[in-house]
Symmetry: C2
Subunit: 312 residues, 2 copies
């Protein structure tokens, strides 16, 4: 995140004093039982100019759904706001990706705005997603020392895919798909929200997002690097040694879920997750403020860069 963005958000925080804003420390706002989120993606910032337009449409919808997933909310409706620049073919294919994601996750598109900008202006694509939360809508800030720290999904795949695309614009395969077509963990999020003292999605790097959950929860965390869930595709590309695990723990665009759950939480007893859902315990919330990393060889120095600070 740039200094400009940080300063702007600090000024915003002074305006957003309503309890529904959750101090802008959450990814969402909560109004009654509704969960509201808005993410904007921009060409050259959040996606590559050469990304297939359908995957850009898919991503716009699913990054917002990932925020709903992190609060255990059911998708209710979306408003889309996009700039268009007269490239009807691009826009057509973009819309087909939006439609596919809305269909896949039962998200009715109910309105929004479309504005024409000159051809050279970077596209700005925004979506407001509205979801209905359950009895408990976890924030980032409810965790306590002793809670287990759990993760749904795998880490680092999208970063491997992005690196492959930057090296070769025609790269393909599951890692490229992970970068282009994030999958929001809606079903797992709904079930975990009932039990979670704190929950958020991991989109800027596990360590960075975990540090945010810790800061909001006024505690620290101990994370076992060896427990981090890595896909076979990731391991084939990067291996699974300490260096590879640190790269997975600091990579962006995972759209995994990070949840603080009671110390004695047993998913086999409490949850009935869709088959293929990857839920693992990766650590424990602790007293203090420190983020401590461990692996089989002992304590691991915390990297300077905890994640991808570009996103907001």
């Amino acid at each position: 995140m740039s200094i400009g963005e940080l300063a702007f958000i600090e000024r915003l925080r002074a305006l957003a004093t309503h309890p529904a804003a959750r101090g802008l420390d959450d990814d969402v706002a909560v109004v009654g039982d509704l969960v509201l989120t808005h993410d904007t993606i921009a060409e050259g910032v959040h996606y590559l100019p050469d990304d297939p337009p359908a995957s850009v449409g898919w991503k716009l919808v699913t990054v917002n759904l990932s925020d709903l997933a992190a609060k255990g909310a059911e998708p209710v409706a979306a408003l889309m706001s996009v700039t268009i620049s007269g490239d009807g073919d691009w826009e057509d294919r973009f819309l087909s990706g939006v439609a596919a994601a809305c269909e896949a996750y039962s998200l009715p598109l109910v309105g929004g705005d479309t504005i024409a900008l000159p051809l050279h202006a970077p596209r700005v694509l925004g979506l407001t997603a509205i979801g209905r939360g359950g009895a408990h809508i976890p924030s980032r800030g409810g965790g306590s020392p002793g809670d287990g720290l759990w993760l749904v999904g795998t880490l680092g795949d999208a970063a491997v895919g992005l690196a492959a695309l930057l090296a070769d614009i025609n790269a393909e395969g599951p890692m490229v798909e992970a970068y282009r077509r994030p999958v929001p963990q809606l079903a797992a999020g709904r079930q975990l929200a009932v039990h979670a003292s704190a929950m958020m999605d991991v989109s800027d790097g596990l360590l960075l997002d975990a540090s945010r959950l810790c800061a909001a929860s006024h505690c620290g965390a101990r994370i076992d690097l060896d427990s981090l869930p890595l896909s076979r595709g990731f391991i084939a590309e990067r291996g699974s040694d300490r260096k590879a695990r640190l790269s997975a723990a600091t990579a962006g665009d995972d759209y995994a879920l990070l949840a603080a759950l009671p110390a004695d939480f047993d998913p086999a007893v409490s949850l009935s997750l869709p088959s293929g859902t990857n839920l693992v315990r990766i650590g424990t919330l602790t007293e203090g403020k420190e983020l401590t990393l461990l692996d089989a060889m002992g304590e691991v120095p915390t990297p300077e860069q905890l994640g991808y600070e570009h996103h907001t």
Copy 2:
């Protein structure tokens, strides 16, 4: 509206099949008792690069509130999505205008997104406003032949202000203020919504917006040009003859309300409007599809350009 925008919106319509979308024919979506709207404004399209940043912030909030007003909804919350480009002074003053409008109309800012774009990229400023509707949330499409057509506000002031600014960047006065600082008719909208068979805000020109209300309501309208509410400032600048009235009836950025009300509607009996609210009957909905204009001299040819088609 450009051909590209029209084509894009046609494609969107095919996606937005949920009843809450109201076929994208309304300015808002309705989910339960919530009214949702999103308007984006862009530099060089919806405001002038030299407009004071605080007035741009004010406008971003109030154009969205005008959509809530047109459905009789109480403001509940807003999510703001803006691009920033490192001009902290501009952004600071922009935020002060956002804050002033949120304060004036009790709209809590509860979230959103901020993304950094290169300095040369045009700013794109979006807001999702959420309101709570009353027992009846009028659409554009409920009007019937015989209904009276009523207007809240005055016409043409913002267009006079914009013309003054285009002639002289330092122009000032109430017409310039009307362009820069629209006033959403929230109180009048709330009271009228109870009685209105159809209602919308007038932002693209009365005749264009009236033709949209007529199309959605499957009827025509007869409008009495002599009844159009003109401000003293407008009359001082443009006069009040037929030509002046046609220019007021086709000017953009009025943010007035247009309501279809029962034939025997009497505001003195049914409403208790804030003092200074300007509510007048301007015509009648009719059978057929025609928009007919009249004044004291007889029928007035309908102008080719009904309004400002640039906005969406």
